[in-house]
Assembly symmetry: C2
Homo-oligomer: 317 residues x 2
Amino acid sequence: MSSPEGRRTYTVVGLGAIGGYYGARLAAAGFTVRFLARSGADQVRRNGLLVESPQGEVRLRSVEVYDDPTLVPASDVVLLAVKTTDNGSVLGHLPELAGPGSVVVVMQNGLGVEEAIAATVPESRVLGAMCFICSHKIGPGHVRHLDYGQVTVGEYKPGAGPAGVTDAVRAVASDLEAARVPVRTCEDLAEGRWRKLVWNIPFNGLSVLLDAGTDELMADPDTRSLVEDLMWEVVGAARACGHEIDDGFVETMLRTTDAMTPYKTSMKLDFDAGRPLELDAIYAAPIRVAAGAGYAMPHTAVLYRQLRFLDQRPGRG
Amino acid sequence: MSSPEGRRTYTVVGLGAIGGYYGARLAAAGFTVRFLARSGADQVRRNGLLVESPQGEVRLRSVEVYDDPTLVPASDVVLLAVKTTDNGSVLGHLPELAGPGSVVVVMQNGLGVEEAIAATVPESRVLGAMCFICSHKIGPGHVRHLDYGQVTVGEYKPGAGPAGVTDAVRAVASDLEAARVPVRTCEDLAEGRWRKLVWNIPFNGLSVLLDAGTDELMADPDTRSLVEDLMWEVVGAARACGHEIDDGFVETMLRTTDAMTPYKTSMKLDFDAGRPLELDAIYAAPIRVAAGAGYAMPHTAVLYRQLRFLDQRPGRG
C-alpha cells in the first residue's frame, strides 16, 4: 500500500474546507493522496485543486479524485474529513478504504465520534485530529484558507484513560509536519476534544442563533460574557470527566478569538447553506457525557435546544 | 374630576394594543375616557376607535384623544399603557395627568416598574395591572383582539410585603368589570408580576431569538422543554423572593398556551418593527432581584444576553 518511495499513502474522505486543505498540503509535499468527493469529482479531475492561503497558494494540476468509494485503492492512512452528519453515508465504505493495518484519522468536531468508527474498522488504529483552522470551500476543488491551521492529533483508546503519544500518532504528525502543517500531539484524545469544544460550543451555536460573526460576538459585552460563561462550563465539564484543563485556557481562547480574522463558523456556513447542523457531536454528546459524570451544563443545554429547534424546523434548507 | 354621573374619569396613556383595548371597553361602558396618543391622534379624532374582537366589535365614533399631554384634563384614574421603554418620555407628564388623589394603574410588563412611577406621583396611589391578553395594534385607532383579556390588579407598596386588596384596587376592578373585562385582584402585586413573568420570560425571548410563534415553540419538544425549564426557573426565583407560587402553576401556563390562538408576542412585534425591546423590565430586573435573594437564573440570563445583543446591534430598526 505504500507509495514507490516508501512513504505512507493517504486517502482523504471529503474534499471540503478541511479535507481539501490538508489533502492538498500533503499532496504538495509529495505524498500520494487519493481524494474521495461526494460531488464535483469531474471538475476537480479537469481543473485540479486550488488552495488560496496567506501562507502562499497551493495549486495541484493533477489530482487523484474518486466519486465511487469502491474504486479507491486502500491507503495507509485515511483522513476522514466529512461532517459528522455525513458519517452515515461514509462509514459503510470505511473498511475497504482503510484496509487492515491502516490508520484512520477522524478530522471532525465534537465528542465521541471515534467510538462508532473504531467499531467499523476493528483492524485499523483510530486517531482523532482537532483542526484549528479558518478555511472555507469556495467551490469544487477550491478552498480558501483564512487563518491558523494547526492540528492536534491523539490516538483513540476505548474506555477511560489516555492512549499516550503512540507510534501511529507520531507517524501521522511527522507526515503533516513534512507538509508544512503545524502539529501538536496529545496523550489524551478526549481532553483534546474537550479543549476544542471550549471554542466550538459558544461560537458555533451563537453564530447561528444570533446571525453573527466571531468578531461581533466578542465585541458586544453581553455575548462576550455569555461566551465566557459557556467556555467555563465546558472546562468544568471536562474536569468533571477527569481531564485537567488549566485556568488560563479560557483566557487563551478569548485572546486567540480576538486576534482572529472575522470568521463565519462551520455551523453558521452549514446553517446558511441549509445543511444539517453537527448538533449531536458538538452539543448532545458533551452534555450527555458530562451528565454521566454528574455535571450539568445549563448554558450549553439552552443553546442546544434552541439550535435543535432551528435544525429540525420544517422546510429548512 | 369625576364625570357628571359621579363615575370615575380615565386617562389612558398609550393608544396601542393594551390602551386601545381596555380604554375602548371602558368608553363603551359609559366612562369618560381621555386617550393620550404619541401618534395618530388626528386620524383617531376623525375616524374613531375600532376594536375587533371575538367577543363582538367595539366601535367608538367620537373619541376624546390628545397628542399634547399638557392639554389633557386631570382624571381620577390614569392607565399607563405604553411600553416600559417609552416611560422616559411619559413620566415627566404623569403628575399633571394624574393630579392629587388620583390612581395610576401601571399596565406594563416586567418587574419593579412601579417604583419609579410611585416616586414621580407621590400624591397618587399606584396600582399594577397584569394584562393576560392577545391583542395587536393594526393601525391608528384600530386594535385586533385575538384571545383572552383578563386583568390582574394589585396595589404597589414600597419595600417588602403585600399591600392587600385595597379600596383603590376594588374601585378599578369594579370599573373594569362594568366594562366587561374579567378581573382578578391580587393581595401581593410582586407575586402577580412574577406569575406574569413565568409566561413572558420564555415566550417573549424565544419568539424573538428563534423567529417563532407560541404554537411552534410548544409543538417542538426541544423548545417546549426549554420553556418548561425557564418557567420553573422563574417560579424558583419568585419563591426565593418570598412569593409562594404553587407547583401546578407551570402546568396551567403550559395548558393555557397550548389552547391559545397562535400568537406573536409583544416583544416579537417590537423586534420586527425595529422598536426597542423591554429587556430591563422583563429580564434584567427579575435576574437582579433574584440574585439579591441569592437565586441564580442561568437559563434566563442566557436569553437576556442573546436578546441584548440583538437589541443593541448597530443599525437595527
